[in-house]
């Protein structure tokens, strides 16, 4: 089965599977779904103010040509790694800021297109990595742990591996 078909199957199958199990177990699908979907509404309202601020700042930096300057500066290094230079700022932003990465990703897609090499690498990077510092801070903070004992460097190794692999995987599956 090609990658294309697997992707087309996944989403409808997930919905059908969940709904069927709910029907078999005689759960009140409708009202459970509605109460869950309301949470999505609250999360979106929570995100909007941050997105307005960060997209304005990133948009200004992009329009002025400053971001292009940064991309050009790192391009030789990126090329050596086989990584699309236009995605490199995203890779650096990803572990630090979720909304910053989302804002950057959205604008990048508009610029290079979803089916380009860079657009695909960016999407894979967004899907396969996580806002590392936030996650670590929440968990260590909640457990009142002060010494990470190597967890942060290891998490950054994971991010780096994910970054390198995102470019390799896109080349493997799409070229």
């Amino acid at each position: 089965m090609s990658a294309f078909q697997a992707g087309d199957f996944a989403v409808p199958l997930a919905i059908v599977l969940v709904f069927s199990i709910a029907a078999v177990r005689r759960k009140d699908l409708f009202s459970i779904f509605l109460s869950g979907a309301k949470e999505g509404l609250a999360t979106t309202a929570h995100v909007l103010p941050a997105l307005v601020l960060l997209m304005t700042v990133i948009g200004m930096a992009r329009a002025s040509g400053l971001l292009g300057l940064l991309t050009d500066a790192v391009a030789p290094l990126a090329e050596r790694l086989g990584f699309p230079a236009e995605v490199l700022p995203l890779a650096l932003l990803r572990p630090l800021s979720g909304s910053g990465a989302l804002a950057f990703f959205e604008e990048l897609l508009g610029e290079v297109g979803t089916e380009s090499y860079g657009g695909r690498v960016a999407a894979v990077l967004m899907g396969g990595t996580e806002t590392t510092f936030y996650t670590a801070a929440v968990y260590f903070g909640a457990a009142e742990v002060r010494k990470g004992n190597g967890a942060i460097p290891a998490a950054l190794v994971a991010d780096f591996a994910g970054t390198v692999m995102s470019a390799l995987a896109v080349r493997l599956f799409f070229q």
């Binding site: 087309d8 509404l41 999407a123 995987a169 896109v170």
Partner: protein
């Protein structure tokens, strides 16, 4: 953790890096809220960073002759952000709803049971403690299924259980370090937010990246687990007083997450 969930609580970065760094590098005292708010730009590290970036954009844009583009971005990007939120609103509601149904049907608990033996190999010292293993596998399952809202409280519970099992020290045990690494290298079966954005930008098959996402997430997880094993170093138990202070400071940064 789901992308949107994490970013809803994490809008800014520079200031938080300083704060997080102060949690992990105990040589330096934690930067207090007061000290940050007393910095010249009012908003602390993030405010400083944003001020510098916007000023640099204005100056560079003027020099490079892109001033009208900068002006257009300053005027128009906010509506762009509002439209982006609106586009994601549907996706987020749909999958929050589907996730709620899946959770209610016991799908999470079932998957967690399935994963428990595999996770036992990753956390050999925690394996004997049933309560710990249950918390860990529930958290990993919630992450896999994209249940961001459920994954965080489950993960916090798992961390507290791991701390109890490890003797309540303020230094991370091997299992705690590994657990955090597993969570930072998120493996998600359906990256719905990313796919929704691709769809909106005109992708004919927004989920065609799935195998690549799985490969990337899996490889990143593997690298993280190996690195956590290599980088782990035993440190002696530290004074509990200091730990509690910084721990509650870190907890205060993120507020009360769950009621």
């Amino acid at each position: 953790m789901d992308l949107l969930y994490s970013l809803s609580y994490y809008p800014f970065f520079v200031k938080d890096i300083f704060r997080q760094a102060s949690v992990f590098f105990s040589e330096y005292p934690p930067i207090s809220r007061n000290r940050l708010s007393q910095t010249r730009f009012g908003g602390g590290g993030t405010g400083y960073f944003l001020a510098v970036v916007t000023a640099a954009s204005l100056i560079y844009g003027a020099c490079a002759g892109n001033l009208s583009a900068v002006s257009a971005a300053a005027l128009g990007e906010c509506s762009h952000a509002a439209m982006l939120s609106l586009e994601l609103l549907g996706t987020l509601c749909l999958w929050s709803g589907v996730s709620a149904v899946a959770d209610e049907c016991g799908l999470t608990a079932w998957t967690a049971k399935l994963l428990a033996p595999v996770l036992g190999l990753l956390f050999p010292t925690a394996r004997r403690d049933e309560k710990v293993m249950k918390a860990i596998s529930m958290n990993v399952t919630a992450n896999l299924l994209g249940l961001g809202n459920a994954a965080t409280p489950l993960g916090i519970k798992a961390m507290k259980e791991l701390k109890r099992a490890g003797g309540g020290l303020s230094a991370a045990t091997k299992d705690m370090a590994l657990f955090v690494v597993v969570n930072t290298a998120s493996l998600q079966i359906l990256p719905t937010t990313v796919a929704a954005l691709r769809l909106n930008e005109g992708s004919p098959a927004p989920m065609d990246i799935l195998p690549a996402v799985w490969l990337t997430g899996g490889f990143s997880l593997l690298a993280g687990v190996l690195a956590a094993k290599v980088f782990y170093r035993e440190t002696g138990p530290r004074a509990e007083g200091g730990a509690c202070r910084s721990g509650s400071a870190a907890a205060a940064l993120f507020g009360e997450e769950e009621p």
